[in-house]
Symmetry: C2
Subunit: 191 residues, 2 copies
Protein backbone atom coordinates (compact mmCIF):
# COMPACT_ATOMS: atom_id res chain seq x y z
CA UNK A 1 0.00 0.00 0.00
CA UNK A 2 1.76 3.04 -1.39
CA UNK A 3 0.17 5.52 1.06
CA UNK A 4 1.45 3.54 4.05
CA UNK A 5 4.97 3.04 2.64
CA UNK A 6 5.24 6.75 1.95
CA UNK A 7 4.08 7.55 5.46
CA UNK A 8 6.63 5.16 6.98
CA UNK A 9 9.40 6.78 4.91
CA UNK A 10 8.27 10.25 5.99
CA UNK A 11 7.34 9.76 9.65
CA UNK A 12 8.77 6.38 10.72
CA UNK A 13 12.02 6.31 12.65
CA UNK A 14 14.43 3.45 13.14
CA UNK A 15 15.47 3.73 16.79
CA UNK A 16 17.82 0.74 16.92
CA UNK A 17 17.44 -2.80 18.30
CA UNK A 18 15.17 -3.71 15.36
CA UNK A 19 12.49 -1.26 16.46
CA UNK A 20 10.61 0.99 14.05
CA UNK A 21 8.96 3.92 15.80
CA UNK A 22 5.65 4.77 14.16
CA UNK A 23 4.18 6.51 17.21
CA UNK A 24 3.04 9.51 15.18
CA UNK A 25 0.48 7.58 13.10
CA UNK A 26 0.02 4.05 14.55
CA UNK A 27 1.15 3.37 18.12
CA UNK A 28 0.41 6.49 20.15
CA UNK A 29 -1.01 9.05 17.79
CA UNK A 30 -3.28 7.44 15.16
CA UNK A 31 -4.09 8.83 11.72
CA UNK A 32 -7.75 7.81 11.31
CA UNK A 33 -7.78 8.53 7.56
CA UNK A 34 -4.75 6.31 6.95
CA UNK A 35 -6.33 3.60 9.15
CA UNK A 36 -9.54 3.81 7.15
CA UNK A 37 -7.60 3.35 3.91
CA UNK A 38 -5.77 0.39 5.47
CA UNK A 39 -9.13 -1.07 6.49
CA UNK A 40 -10.37 -0.80 2.90
CA UNK A 41 -7.23 -2.50 1.66
CA UNK A 42 -7.58 -5.38 4.15
CA UNK A 43 -11.24 -5.75 3.13
CA UNK A 44 -10.19 -5.98 -0.53
CA UNK A 45 -7.45 -8.54 0.21
CA UNK A 46 -9.68 -10.77 2.39
CA UNK A 47 -13.11 -10.26 0.82
CA UNK A 48 -13.25 -13.83 -0.50
CA UNK A 49 -12.17 -15.54 2.73
CA UNK A 50 -15.66 -15.58 4.35
CA UNK A 51 -14.34 -14.34 7.68
CA UNK A 52 -17.04 -14.01 10.35
CA UNK A 53 -14.89 -12.26 12.95
CA UNK A 54 -11.66 -10.29 13.28
CA UNK A 55 -9.33 -11.06 16.16
CA UNK A 56 -6.61 -8.66 17.26
CA UNK A 57 -4.55 -7.86 20.35
CA UNK A 58 -4.85 -4.69 22.40
CA UNK A 59 -3.60 -2.00 22.14
CA UNK A 60 -2.26 -0.98 18.77
CA UNK A 61 -4.10 -3.67 16.83
CA UNK A 62 -7.47 -2.11 17.64
CA UNK A 63 -7.48 0.79 15.16
CA UNK A 64 -6.54 -1.23 12.03
CA UNK A 65 -8.76 -4.14 13.10
CA UNK A 66 -11.85 -1.95 13.65
CA UNK A 67 -11.25 -0.25 10.28
CA UNK A 68 -11.00 -3.63 8.55
CA UNK A 69 -14.11 -4.82 10.42
CA UNK A 70 -16.05 -1.79 9.23
CA UNK A 71 -15.23 -2.47 5.59
CA UNK A 72 -15.79 -6.23 5.87
CA UNK A 73 -18.95 -5.73 7.95
CA UNK A 74 -17.91 -8.12 10.74
CA UNK A 75 -17.27 -7.70 14.49
CA UNK A 76 -13.82 -7.35 16.04
CA UNK A 77 -12.61 -9.04 19.23
CA UNK A 78 -9.49 -7.69 20.89
CA UNK A 79 -7.59 -10.03 23.17
CA UNK A 80 -7.02 -8.39 26.55
CA UNK A 81 -3.70 -8.40 28.36
CA UNK A 82 -5.41 -8.11 31.74
CA UNK A 83 -8.67 -9.80 32.68
CA UNK A 84 -11.31 -7.14 33.38
CA UNK A 85 -13.93 -7.74 36.08
CA UNK A 86 -16.64 -7.93 33.41
CA UNK A 87 -15.10 -11.13 32.03
CA UNK A 88 -16.30 -14.57 33.18
CA UNK A 89 -14.01 -16.70 35.35
CA UNK A 90 -13.47 -19.24 32.60
CA UNK A 91 -11.46 -17.64 29.79
CA UNK A 92 -9.29 -18.55 26.84
CA UNK A 93 -5.72 -17.61 27.73
CA UNK A 94 -2.30 -17.99 26.21
CA UNK A 95 1.14 -16.52 26.88
CA UNK A 96 3.09 -14.54 24.34
CA UNK A 97 6.57 -13.01 24.49
CA UNK A 98 6.63 -9.26 23.76
CA UNK A 99 9.78 -7.89 22.15
CA UNK A 100 8.95 -4.23 22.83
CA UNK A 101 7.93 -4.99 26.42
CA UNK A 102 10.84 -7.35 27.11
CA UNK A 103 8.60 -9.83 28.94
CA UNK A 104 5.81 -12.37 28.48
CA UNK A 105 2.26 -11.03 28.28
CA UNK A 106 -1.06 -12.82 28.62
CA UNK A 107 -3.56 -12.78 25.78
CA UNK A 108 -7.08 -13.36 27.10
CA UNK A 109 -10.35 -13.80 25.21
CA UNK A 110 -13.76 -14.51 26.64
CA UNK A 111 -15.37 -17.66 25.20
CA UNK A 112 -18.55 -15.55 24.90
CA UNK A 113 -17.16 -13.89 21.78
CA UNK A 114 -14.97 -16.52 20.14
CA UNK A 115 -16.43 -19.94 19.50
CA UNK A 116 -16.37 -22.96 17.25
CA UNK A 117 -17.65 -22.35 13.76
CA UNK A 118 -16.17 -18.85 13.59
CA UNK A 119 -13.93 -18.05 10.64
CA UNK A 120 -11.31 -15.76 12.12
CA UNK A 121 -9.23 -13.13 10.35
CA UNK A 122 -6.34 -11.92 12.50
CA UNK A 123 -5.32 -8.27 12.05
CA UNK A 124 -2.45 -6.58 13.86
CA UNK A 125 -0.25 -3.52 13.51
CA UNK A 126 3.05 -5.40 13.16
CA UNK A 127 4.14 -8.77 11.83
CA UNK A 128 7.69 -9.27 13.11
CA UNK A 129 8.62 -12.65 14.58
CA UNK A 130 4.94 -13.59 14.48
CA UNK A 131 4.89 -14.54 18.17
CA UNK A 132 1.90 -12.34 19.11
CA UNK A 133 -0.01 -13.56 16.06
CA UNK A 134 0.85 -17.17 16.93
CA UNK A 135 -0.69 -16.47 20.35
CA UNK A 136 -3.87 -15.21 18.68
CA UNK A 137 -3.93 -18.32 16.46
CA UNK A 138 -3.68 -20.53 19.55
CA UNK A 139 -6.62 -18.66 21.14
CA UNK A 140 -8.72 -19.18 18.00
CA UNK A 141 -7.78 -22.86 17.97
CA UNK A 142 -8.62 -23.40 21.66
CA UNK A 143 -12.01 -21.81 20.89
CA UNK A 144 -12.53 -24.29 18.04
CA UNK A 145 -12.51 -21.53 15.42
CA UNK A 146 -10.75 -21.60 12.04
CA UNK A 147 -8.10 -19.01 11.19
CA UNK A 148 -8.65 -17.93 7.57
CA UNK A 149 -5.83 -15.42 7.32
CA UNK A 150 -3.50 -12.91 8.89
CA UNK A 151 -3.18 -9.27 7.92
CA UNK A 152 -0.63 -6.80 9.26
CA UNK A 153 -0.10 -3.13 8.59
CA UNK A 154 3.69 -3.38 8.71
CA UNK A 155 5.81 -6.48 8.20
CA UNK A 156 9.48 -6.72 9.12
CA UNK A 157 10.41 -9.45 6.65
CA UNK A 158 13.84 -9.98 8.26
CA UNK A 159 12.22 -11.31 11.44
CA UNK A 160 10.64 -14.15 9.45
CA UNK A 161 7.19 -14.22 11.02
CA UNK A 162 5.67 -14.82 7.58
CA UNK A 163 7.71 -18.01 7.10
CA UNK A 164 6.55 -19.25 10.50
CA UNK A 165 2.87 -18.57 9.71
CA UNK A 166 3.00 -19.90 6.16
CA UNK A 167 4.51 -23.12 7.51
CA UNK A 168 1.20 -23.47 9.39
CA UNK A 169 -0.63 -23.05 6.04
CA UNK A 170 -1.88 -19.61 6.95
CA UNK A 171 -2.45 -16.96 4.30
CA UNK A 172 -0.54 -13.77 5.17
CA UNK A 173 -0.96 -10.25 3.79
CA UNK A 174 0.79 -7.10 4.91
CA UNK A 175 0.39 -3.56 3.65
CA UNK A 176 4.04 -2.52 3.92
CA UNK A 177 6.98 -4.94 3.93
CA UNK A 178 10.21 -3.69 5.42
CA UNK A 179 13.26 -5.65 4.30
CA UNK A 180 15.87 -3.76 6.28
CA UNK A 181 16.28 -0.76 8.56
CA UNK A 182 19.39 1.08 9.65
CA UNK A 183 20.68 4.59 10.22
CA UNK A 184 20.83 4.81 6.39
CA UNK A 185 17.09 4.40 6.05
CA UNK A 186 14.11 2.09 5.77
CA UNK A 187 14.05 -0.22 2.77
CA UNK A 188 10.96 -1.98 1.47
CA UNK A 189 10.75 -5.48 0.06
CA UNK A 190 9.91 -5.63 -3.63
CA UNK A 191 8.72 -9.02 -4.83
CA UNK B 1 -28.32 8.23 19.77
CA UNK B 2 -31.18 5.82 19.32
CA UNK B 3 -29.08 3.05 17.75
CA UNK B 4 -26.76 2.99 20.78
CA UNK B 5 -29.57 3.10 23.36
CA UNK B 6 -31.30 0.20 21.62
CA UNK B 7 -28.06 -1.77 21.56
CA UNK B 8 -27.48 -1.14 25.27
CA UNK B 9 -31.02 -2.33 26.05
CA UNK B 10 -30.53 -5.43 23.91
CA UNK B 11 -26.94 -6.46 24.69
CA UNK B 12 -25.88 -4.50 27.78
CA UNK B 13 -25.96 -6.23 31.15
CA UNK B 14 -26.02 -4.69 34.60
CA UNK B 15 -23.66 -6.89 36.61
CA UNK B 16 -23.94 -5.10 39.96
CA UNK B 17 -21.65 -2.65 41.76
CA UNK B 18 -22.64 0.10 39.30
CA UNK B 19 -21.02 -1.73 36.38
CA UNK B 20 -22.63 -2.00 32.95
CA UNK B 21 -21.19 -4.82 30.89
CA UNK B 22 -21.04 -3.87 27.21
CA UNK B 23 -18.29 -6.31 26.32
CA UNK B 24 -20.17 -7.61 23.28
CA UNK B 25 -20.02 -4.32 21.35
CA UNK B 26 -17.63 -1.87 23.12
CA UNK B 27 -15.13 -3.25 25.61
CA UNK B 28 -13.97 -6.62 24.31
CA UNK B 29 -15.86 -7.30 21.12
CA UNK B 30 -16.39 -4.11 19.08
CA UNK B 31 -19.15 -3.48 16.57
CA UNK B 32 -17.33 -1.40 13.93
CA UNK B 33 -20.55 -0.29 12.22
CA UNK B 34 -22.00 1.03 15.48
CA UNK B 35 -18.65 2.73 16.24
CA UNK B 36 -18.68 4.37 12.83
CA UNK B 37 -22.18 5.73 13.45
CA UNK B 38 -21.05 6.99 16.87
CA UNK B 39 -18.08 8.67 15.17
CA UNK B 40 -20.43 10.43 12.75
CA UNK B 41 -22.59 11.58 15.65
CA UNK B 42 -19.58 12.95 17.58
CA UNK B 43 -18.44 14.75 14.42
CA UNK B 44 -21.88 16.34 14.07
CA UNK B 45 -21.97 17.41 17.74
CA UNK B 46 -18.45 18.89 17.73
CA UNK B 47 -18.10 20.13 14.14
CA UNK B 48 -18.10 23.80 15.20
CA UNK B 49 -15.56 23.46 18.01
CA UNK B 50 -12.45 23.71 15.78
CA UNK B 51 -10.77 20.75 17.48
CA UNK B 52 -7.31 19.99 16.11
CA UNK B 53 -6.78 16.72 17.96
CA UNK B 54 -8.71 14.01 19.78
CA UNK B 55 -7.35 12.70 23.07
CA UNK B 56 -8.52 9.41 24.57
CA UNK B 57 -7.27 6.75 26.96
CA UNK B 58 -6.32 3.23 25.98
CA UNK B 59 -7.94 0.72 25.67
CA UNK B 60 -11.65 1.05 25.08
CA UNK B 61 -11.55 4.72 24.13
CA UNK B 62 -9.58 3.96 20.98
CA UNK B 63 -12.40 2.67 18.74
CA UNK B 64 -14.86 5.55 19.32
CA UNK B 65 -12.05 8.13 19.24
CA UNK B 66 -10.62 6.87 15.93
CA UNK B 67 -14.13 6.83 14.42
CA UNK B 68 -14.73 10.40 15.56
CA UNK B 69 -11.30 11.41 14.27
CA UNK B 70 -12.10 9.93 10.87
CA UNK B 71 -15.29 11.95 10.54
CA UNK B 72 -13.73 15.14 11.92
CA UNK B 73 -10.56 14.65 9.85
CA UNK B 74 -8.17 15.09 12.80
CA UNK B 75 -5.57 12.82 14.46
CA UNK B 76 -6.16 10.86 17.65
CA UNK B 77 -3.74 10.48 20.56
CA UNK B 78 -4.37 7.73 23.06
CA UNK B 79 -2.84 8.12 26.50
CA UNK B 80 -0.86 5.01 27.40
CA UNK B 81 -1.07 3.29 30.76
CA UNK B 82 2.47 1.94 30.44
CA UNK B 83 5.37 3.83 28.90
CA UNK B 84 6.56 1.99 25.77
CA UNK B 85 10.26 1.99 24.88
CA UNK B 86 9.55 4.11 21.82
CA UNK B 87 8.53 7.03 24.05
CA UNK B 88 11.02 9.74 25.07
CA UNK B 89 12.21 9.90 28.71
CA UNK B 90 10.40 13.15 29.32
CA UNK B 91 6.65 12.55 29.21
CA UNK B 92 3.36 14.09 30.35
CA UNK B 93 2.01 11.88 33.14
CA UNK B 94 -0.88 11.97 35.55
CA UNK B 95 -2.50 9.47 37.91
CA UNK B 96 -6.12 8.42 37.67
CA UNK B 97 -8.20 6.09 39.86
CA UNK B 98 -9.86 3.26 37.90
CA UNK B 99 -13.17 1.98 39.25
CA UNK B 100 -13.20 -1.20 37.12
CA UNK B 101 -9.53 -1.92 37.93
CA UNK B 102 -9.81 -1.05 41.63
CA UNK B 103 -6.50 0.81 41.60
CA UNK B 104 -4.75 3.92 40.36
CA UNK B 105 -3.46 3.88 36.79
CA UNK B 106 -0.99 6.14 35.03
CA UNK B 107 -2.02 8.12 31.96
CA UNK B 108 1.00 8.98 29.84
CA UNK B 109 1.27 11.11 26.71
CA UNK B 110 4.39 12.01 24.79
CA UNK B 111 4.91 15.77 24.41
CA UNK B 112 5.74 15.00 20.75
CA UNK B 113 2.02 14.67 20.01
CA UNK B 114 0.29 17.04 22.41
CA UNK B 115 1.45 20.61 22.60
CA UNK B 116 0.43 24.18 23.21
CA UNK B 117 -1.91 25.62 20.64
CA UNK B 118 -3.77 22.33 20.18
CA UNK B 119 -7.56 22.40 20.59
CA UNK B 120 -8.32 19.06 22.17
CA UNK B 121 -11.55 17.09 22.02
CA UNK B 122 -11.64 14.28 24.59
CA UNK B 123 -13.52 11.13 23.57
CA UNK B 124 -13.99 8.07 25.78
CA UNK B 125 -16.26 5.05 26.02
CA UNK B 126 -17.72 5.90 29.45
CA UNK B 127 -18.42 9.04 31.41
CA UNK B 128 -19.08 7.90 34.98
CA UNK B 129 -17.41 9.82 37.82
CA UNK B 130 -15.34 11.66 35.22
CA UNK B 131 -12.06 10.77 36.95
CA UNK B 132 -10.37 9.32 33.83
CA UNK B 133 -11.53 12.27 31.76
CA UNK B 134 -10.27 14.69 34.42
CA UNK B 135 -6.90 12.94 34.08
CA UNK B 136 -6.97 13.53 30.31
CA UNK B 137 -7.88 17.19 30.91
CA UNK B 138 -4.88 17.55 33.24
CA UNK B 139 -2.61 16.06 30.55
CA UNK B 140 -3.93 18.53 27.96
CA UNK B 141 -3.41 21.39 30.40
CA UNK B 142 0.16 20.37 31.29
CA UNK B 143 0.82 20.32 27.53
CA UNK B 144 -0.52 23.87 27.24
CA UNK B 145 -3.43 22.75 25.05
CA UNK B 146 -7.07 23.89 25.30
CA UNK B 147 -9.83 21.35 25.96
CA UNK B 148 -12.78 22.26 23.72
CA UNK B 149 -15.14 19.48 24.77
CA UNK B 150 -15.74 15.99 26.06
CA UNK B 151 -17.71 13.28 24.28
CA UNK B 152 -18.61 9.88 25.71
CA UNK B 153 -20.42 6.94 24.20
CA UNK B 154 -22.21 6.07 27.44
CA UNK B 155 -22.86 8.33 30.42
CA UNK B 156 -23.93 7.11 33.83
CA UNK B 157 -25.67 10.29 34.99
CA UNK B 158 -25.97 9.04 38.58
CA UNK B 159 -22.17 9.13 38.99
CA UNK B 160 -22.21 12.88 38.31
CA UNK B 161 -19.15 13.18 36.11
CA UNK B 162 -21.00 15.68 33.92
CA UNK B 163 -21.54 18.03 36.88
CA UNK B 164 -17.83 17.82 37.73
CA UNK B 165 -16.79 18.63 34.14
CA UNK B 166 -19.36 21.37 33.59
CA UNK B 167 -18.15 23.03 36.78
CA UNK B 168 -14.84 23.36 34.92
CA UNK B 169 -16.72 25.08 32.06
CA UNK B 170 -16.30 22.09 29.77
CA UNK B 171 -18.91 21.24 27.15
CA UNK B 172 -20.05 17.63 27.53
CA UNK B 173 -21.93 15.40 25.08
CA UNK B 174 -22.79 11.75 25.46
CA UNK B 175 -24.58 9.47 23.04
CA UNK B 176 -26.53 7.46 25.61
CA UNK B 177 -27.36 8.69 29.14
CA UNK B 178 -28.15 6.04 31.71
CA UNK B 179 -30.08 7.35 34.69
CA UNK B 180 -30.33 4.13 36.65
CA UNK B 181 -29.51 0.44 36.41
CA UNK B 182 -30.73 -2.46 38.48
CA UNK B 183 -31.90 -6.04 38.11
CA UNK B 184 -35.14 -4.51 36.78
CA UNK B 185 -33.41 -2.97 33.80
CA UNK B 186 -31.46 -0.10 32.35
CA UNK B 187 -33.23 3.27 32.29
CA UNK B 188 -32.22 6.21 30.13
CA UNK B 189 -32.26 9.88 31.08
CA UNK B 190 -34.81 11.93 29.13
CA UNK B 191 -34.18 15.66 29.25
Amino acid sequence: MKLLEERIQKDGHYIGDGILKVDSFVNHQVDPILMNEAGKEFAKLFMNFSATKILTAEISGIAPAVSAGLHLGIPVVFARKNKPITMPDQVLLTLSPSHTKGRTVELIVSPEYLGSGERVLIIDDFLATGKTIEGLIRLAEIAGATVVGVGALIEKTFEEGRERLEAMNIHVESLARIESMSEEGIFFHRS
